[in-house]
């Protein structure tokens, strides 16, 4: 069993972000992201999006990254607990990841001032992957 999250983080470009509203109701959002390190996920969102409003209210989030198209038996997944926030720093790392994945570059002007998007980051506090019996196994991020 390969319990290194980096392979999945490099190959799966969309994470699911689980957030919770002020009323305690959970919300699930697919979000395109970049991971300069397994402990640092970056993405761009509109502050008015439901998940962004939830993060502003409660920065604790959960994340899962997996291939939603593979058959059951081959499933692997990276589960994370993280603290998320809007950030003014790191757009060049997000941009580099986007370009290397065949996407468009991002500039600071696109995530500041009158632009409709902002840069967000999640600092991963705990991480798990699936073991041989499909049980979650905690993975230490270095």
């Amino acid at each position: 069993m390969n319990l290194d999250p980096r392979e999945l983080l490099a190959s799966i470009r969309y994470m699911t972000l689980a957030t919770v509203g002020a009323d305690g109701r959970p919300w699930a959002s697919p979000v395109w992201y970049a991971a300069p390190a397994p402990s640092e996920l970056l993405w761009v969102s509109q502050p008015g999006a439901r998940h962004s409003r939830n993060i502003a209210n409660r920065p604790e989030v959960a994340i899962v990254i997996f291939d939603s198209t593979v058959p059951n038996e081959d499933a692997q997944a990276v589960y994370m607990e993280a603290t998320a926030s809007q950030t003014g720093e790191g757009v060049e790392r997000l941009s580099a990841a986007s370009v290397s994945a065949g996407g468009e570059p991002w500039t600071a002007a696109e995530v500041t001032g009158s632009a409709k998007h902002r840069l967000y980051r999640a600092d991963v506090t705990r991480c798990w992957m699936l073991g041989a019996e499909e049980e979650r196994v905690e993975v230490k991020l270095v």
Binding site: R13, Y14, A18, G24, W32, F66, N72
Partner: protein, 135 residues
């Protein structure tokens, strides 16, 4: 663009289930599911799994179904709000014909769960969510 929840649910067999515990802490889990109807999602889980314990404490869930492998900008996604609970094992045939009532009844370690979906949204062309209804 396909916006019928029933058709989108037929395209992908993994959903991401967002649950919260009694303290309101979120959790995200990939779950293999079947959708006999757009408002009825069925799956099999261990009741001791973190998402199952969360559902026992707080039945309100959110679900996203999407293709996690597409390139940036090609995304489609179906977002749902639902109420989830363990459900009658007799319905297991609607989940998967290979599963039996015995497979989801004590002493087996799994149980059958159902989400009753109340609202659906899809991602529109300008990255905004659009509420839709099953066709």
């Amino acid at each position: 663009m396909e916006t019928d929840p029933g058709k989108l649910l037929a395209a992908i067999r993994y959903m991401t289930l967002a649950t919260a515990d009694e303290d309101g802490r979120p959790w995200a889990s990939p779950v293999w599911f079947a959708a006999p109807a757009a408002d009825e999602l069925l799956w099999v889980s261990d009741p001791s799994a973190r998402h199952s314990r969360n559902i026992a404490a707080r039945p309100e869930v959110a679900i996203a179904v999407f293709d996690s492998t597409v390139a940036e900008g090609d995304a489609w996604g179906l977002y749902m709000e639902a109420t989830a609970a363990e459900t009658d094992a007799a319905a297991v045939g609607r989940f998967d014909e290979d599963w039996t009532i015995e497979d989801v009844t004590a002493p087996a370690k799994h149980r059958l769960y159902a989400a009753n979906v109340r609202r659906w949204w899809v991602l529109g062309p300008r990255d905004e969510r659009i509420e839709v209804r099953p066709g």
